[in-house]
Symmetry: D3
């Protein structure tokens, strides 16, 4: 397994029309979750990924596991919880530049993930463990599972990649700050956005943030700056890689997950740090051009075409 990850995925309902959701009549069903988005992004680019999770014994859980399995992600570590439902959420495209999210995930099957759901053997041959800041926000047991996963990874010398993914709707700011920082301290690679850096350290300056994250113990820090691109920092080098121009943002959700998948794919393919960040930027950009969290994730051929494009309108 190239990358293993742990977290909740949910059924995503999006109204067919823009505007306040109370006026919507039709919703379409998709699936999404930061960690499975990353796992799918990786298989799309030719890597092997595995997703540790839990779903309810219901239609939504069955559909979601089929979908993620169909995308080539190993779902052998997904268990079924008969006592709790699969989480769902709604994405309201209220108007340009105002997208809102409504969760129905409290007490969901995945929030009942615990240490006991981890299979130590599964960590043995992984090349990376991907962790987000969402899973520890789900519940006390989920938080324990995250730290247990970190422990298992360390036992097998699996480097830990941490994407804070701050979700203030899920926990108190204080608890969030404390936990995200605690995980950042265990991580080998951290992938915060600037706003997340500011949330944790009260600091917005990229260079200063890079230093602060490195000081926690990470050997690589990638600081995301939205459509503008990203910064990278290690003990030896740092730099900034500009983002790719996007003609029209169709759906901004999932861009960060695409970024993480693109970046890890770059590392797995042996790219330089700056080249890996460039690929990360490109994947992130492509994700925003298509509705849905994972639908826009490119395969190898597509990412290369996009990165080399002359931006001519193409009809093939």
């Amino acid at each position: 397994m190239d990358v293993i990850t742990i977290g909740e995925s949910m059924v995503l309902f999006t109204p067919d029309s823009t505007g306040p959701m109370r006026y919507a009549n039709q919703f379409s069903m998709k699936f999404g979750g930061a960690e499975s988005n990353v796992a799918i992004g990786l298989t799309r680019l030719g890597h092997k990924s595995g997703w540790i999770s839990k779903v309810g014994n219901d239609e939504f859980g069955k559909g979601m596991v089929s979908f993620i399995n169909g995308e080539g992600v190993d779902v052998s570590q997904v268990s079924v919880d008969s006592e709790a439902p699969t989480g769902i959420y709604f994405k309201e495209p209220r108007r340009a530049n105002d997208t809102r999210v409504y969760y129905y995930r409290k007490g969901s099957a995945a929030s009942r993930l615990s240490k006991d759901d981890l299979n130590p053997d599964y960590f043995q041959h992984a090349k990376y463990l991907h962790i987000t800041g969402i899973t520890p926000a789900l519940s006390e047991t989920a938080r324990e599972a995250v730290f247990e996963a970190i422990k298992l990874a360390k036992q097998h010398n699996v480097p830990i990649v941490f994407d804070p993914n701050l979700r203030t709707k899920l926990w108190s700011e204080e608890e969030a700050r404390k936990t995200l920082l605690a995980i950042a301290r265990e991580a080998d690679i951290v992938l915060p956005g600037i706003a997340e850096g500011k949330f944790i350290f009260g600091e917005s300056d990229p260079a200063r943030l890079g230093e602060l994250f490195l000081n926690q113990g990470a050997s690589v820090v990638i600081l995301k700056d939205g459509a503008r691109g990203a910064y990278y920092f290690t003990a030896e080098q740092n730099g900034r890689v500009p983002g790719f121009p996007v003609e029209q943002v169709v759906d901004p959700v999932g861009a960060g997950d695409g970024f993480a998948a693109g970046f890890l794919s770059g590392l797995l393919d042996g790219l330089d740090l700056s080249k890996a960040v460039e690929r990360a930027n490109a994947v992130g950009a492509l994700v925003t051009m298509v509705s849905g969290d994972v639908e826009g994730l490119p395969d190898k051929e597509e990412i290369e075409a996009f990165m080399n494009q002359t931006n001519e309108d193409v009809i093939r």
Copy 2:
């Protein structure tokens, strides 16, 4: 106010296609809840009804209150809870004769209804208090609210109409049996189905069930027998009123609420018991012929046309 009622309404999502919901792509949004269904059924038939409830401070809550208000129901007693979401549920028309329901209502705004949400003045001029067995299943505080409502009704000599509406997904059988029986003992009119009667008393014989419910203290017992019709029992009289033939059941959900609305409408209009039950049967039948909980509820003109119909195919 002719009838006041108390309970949770939810946003209802139904897939556009029949079959296991995991394969659905499009869902349509409607609103439903046993108590507001009854309230709407009553306004449709020309009566005044009020609905005591709680919704989340979210799009779904806003949409639901607008919808129910728009139907003419008094929503002055609906409060907004900023801490909890509006409940939702999914109705899966799996195949003919197999409809399934999935709730996301645990911890919902309406489950946080409590005694404090009751305005004693509101009970003063009501002609009936309508109670279902769903509300006490929502939470401890909701159960207390139901018994407080009963107390307030009794203070003002408002007769209590009780529809058990057994929901085994919401509580343990034991707790359900105990509570439903406790409410039945307070009620003036009870509207159980035969299966509910069996659940409570372990008895299926209509005549025997009628007697058992009367013995708890109710003065009127209406025992529903699905499409076949209903039995009625009082100290003085009893009888059976056959149901109306339904060419095609489009959506069986909401028939019982339509029955309750039709029955109460009959009482409010001064009909004989058997005539009120006949109207109840007719409303219940009409509800099943249209998709949605309330969409098929008839107005005065429509219920009369249906009850007098010659069953000729009509194109007007």
Copy 3:
């Protein structure tokens, strides 16, 4: 031209869901009108038909003429009226056996049809003139146009086929009765339904109705009895042809027009009266099995397959 006809067609909007239309969200657009339905039914069966009408200078008019022209009907006699809109109507499938229709046709372009819109040459080579009782109900000028068309037909010895198509929403009962009777007196072939016969003569008995219509001057009377079939009467013979069984009526509207097209097609193909009525029954039955007024109209191959079917479920 085998058959020419004159009348209004309208844009038809049908909600995607069954039930009271106030709850509908999506409507689909089709086109329909008794006379153009008959004209299309005839081209489908291999005959040449022409439709005299008027549409507004608007998108609906353009779309409708394209559609009817595309079906092979001659539209050279359709004029465009810049002063009035194309008529529209809504079909509400309220529930099984209760379909309602709402017109927005008052003052429509077609209601402004007048004698001046008739091209005398067009009547010269027609084999039949088809007239319905709808056109004279549209307006005073439209009524005059109908009687002028009758006059022109008579001048060229074109037999007149009259389908009463009673629409009580469009005119007073008295005016309707008087006018329908006046046209029936001019017609060579009349195609009333039993209810229409009763409306005109206050008589329901098929044999008696046949006689009454023959007495007005028609040489052929076909009395339609819905799904049960039809009766035929001439001076020499009469009989009854049973209808074809229809597994499921999807949309009853348009059946009568299909009947007329099937019957005229039978005459044009030189069938016996009873065989022509049998084909009429078959076309009428097929129309009800598909949504829309004309979508279910069969071509030659299909009508034969249907009339000879063994009723086995076929997957081709």
Copy 4:
């Protein structure tokens, strides 16, 4: 009641696809009308509004009154006319910058509004009477009703707010010009667009137009300049308030009604004239960002967030 208004609302059908409507297959149903749009805009912002109107005794009328009532507008002054249908219209988004509207409102129920439909008591406690130039264009009786409403308002010292809303499809230019001017002379506040000012006075210069309208007797003149903002004029002061930038205009219809609602809301909340105009601009801008006439109307919280926005892309 803070604001009462009088006018027609219609059912609005919009095709799901852009382009000439003849090619559309699916239409969605909404409700709209300048006056009820304003009334809804006001309730959304926390004020009390009432709408005087008439609908047909049909599904569309029932659905429309439920919708507007559900939005919190007082509909006690809406009567039902069994003789005429509820008006409908089609909005064709033909292509960017070319939206067309097709009315089916001639002879509609609301066009039959008359003086007799006005309840003098209803004017007694209103803070403003809102009048548009559409209602007097509907029919002779509707025009009389408008002038009667003005008379009643003046009797109770209710200031009159007039939005010309020129609709050249509904009446002759001459009649329109004469009547709009006559109403402008009765109004305390007038809200014309520059093009409307030019239509009435043949003058395009904002300053000159402000003067001309003030000269008719109004104490406040707000001159709308589309997305660019608006000018205000009183005897004492005048100025210009720039509009808010809109990233993408989704549906321009209803912007003027939002402007009126925002402006009246500002007055009711005791804002300065320039601040009220600023709010008006903001509401107008928000309406254009969502499909439908009223769906984009903001509530208090939303208007404030929009006016203070940093324009960062927000995912909540």
Copy 5:
């Protein structure tokens, strides 16, 4: 692997409306193919199945493999052909009892299956090889691949299950008859329908057909009689198992594949022949109650509930 199968799957487009497809506007996309339907039916019931096939290097091929993989079928033996497209077909629900199919599969990727696509090792541990009469009709090379698969199966003592699946659109009757018979002679278990038996042997009598098929060499013959059930024949025993009543056939396509999956599942679970046929009947019945080829395939729990059902209307 419990069962391996070989054949073409296609993208299936179905119009959203019933009637001649020329009038359809919207089509929905699903996936289907007799062999993958059987493979999915088996995984749904808890068995391991593998599907040997070929798809184009296109969106349809990618989507189809993801879907079938997501259903738990082993797709390791599916190759991608860059020279030819994935096949597609249209299913036209023309009216009740008249469903038509239109193929675009000539020269498809799967029609280019050949002996070289078979991995001999894959046959080693299979418990059954499932073969249909469709694959040999695709092309000369596909026919060779079928006979090679039979050879490989025999080498490893894997019993061969043959479902004739006659498709007269794909080849000449003569060629079909000859080849189906040739395969039947190699098969251990044959699953013909009565019409197929008649096609091959010119004989309709069930008992006689059973004998004829047994005489070719099969040890088990299951003769399908549509909704009426099926006959079974071996050297030692024979009998008839009646079908399950189906309230409403929603989509008849796929019933035979469900039958095969149910039957093989029964054998794998060690059921008696008659019990395996009963399960086959049940799966076939369930498939027809849901739109799509595989959507109605039951899991273990569902098939048991259905076979034991009391046929009460259930709302869970």
Copy 6:
């Protein structure tokens, strides 16, 4: 007939959502083909056009011929081939600036067009013969038909208009280059795009390309430069006509066909070359603003309004 043309039209399926088509659920059906697009463009602008083609004996063929006939194009020269299906294709709007097309046209009915399908009389009164480079790519017989059509045109002194319409998916580059050049040599008017010019001559400079095409024998060369406009060249004059600004390209497919229709319409109306090119640019621009190949084609009134527009947002 003003213009006759010869070629294949296909049924076009477009997913309702943007992104990789494997995730699409709903597709809408339209019709398109370069030559019939031009024919429709011409009738829309008031000219008479005829389309020579072949369709399958299937629903798609019937629907397509009805549609094109309904648009006013003469379809008397369209034959039905019972041996081959009507071609179809899919248009995948993958993301902004990346539209892909998937054909299912190999062996289609239209690819079986041959010399024998040409009716010499049909060429007698045509004013122009329109030929594209697609038809000769369909098959050997289709290529022969094209050259036969050219021969027939020359016999009757009908000028030949050639639009290369290079489709590299349909034939080898070498074959394409050779054939396109051969046709260009026969043409009186050629309408290449700059990229096509480069493909044929290996040259991108407009002036040089104009010269090269003129040298082949054409008397008029129009060189299309996308949204930027077009160049024109004759022996006597040359120039460049800038394109019209397009606010938002909704669907780029069909723009070239609109250009050809606009240009030919200009010639037929006796416009100057530069004015005809200006109209061509305008039609091409309008086509891209609406989804579908022909839906955006303007009529006379619309093209004039567009060419004279002040670009103000219009709501009519």
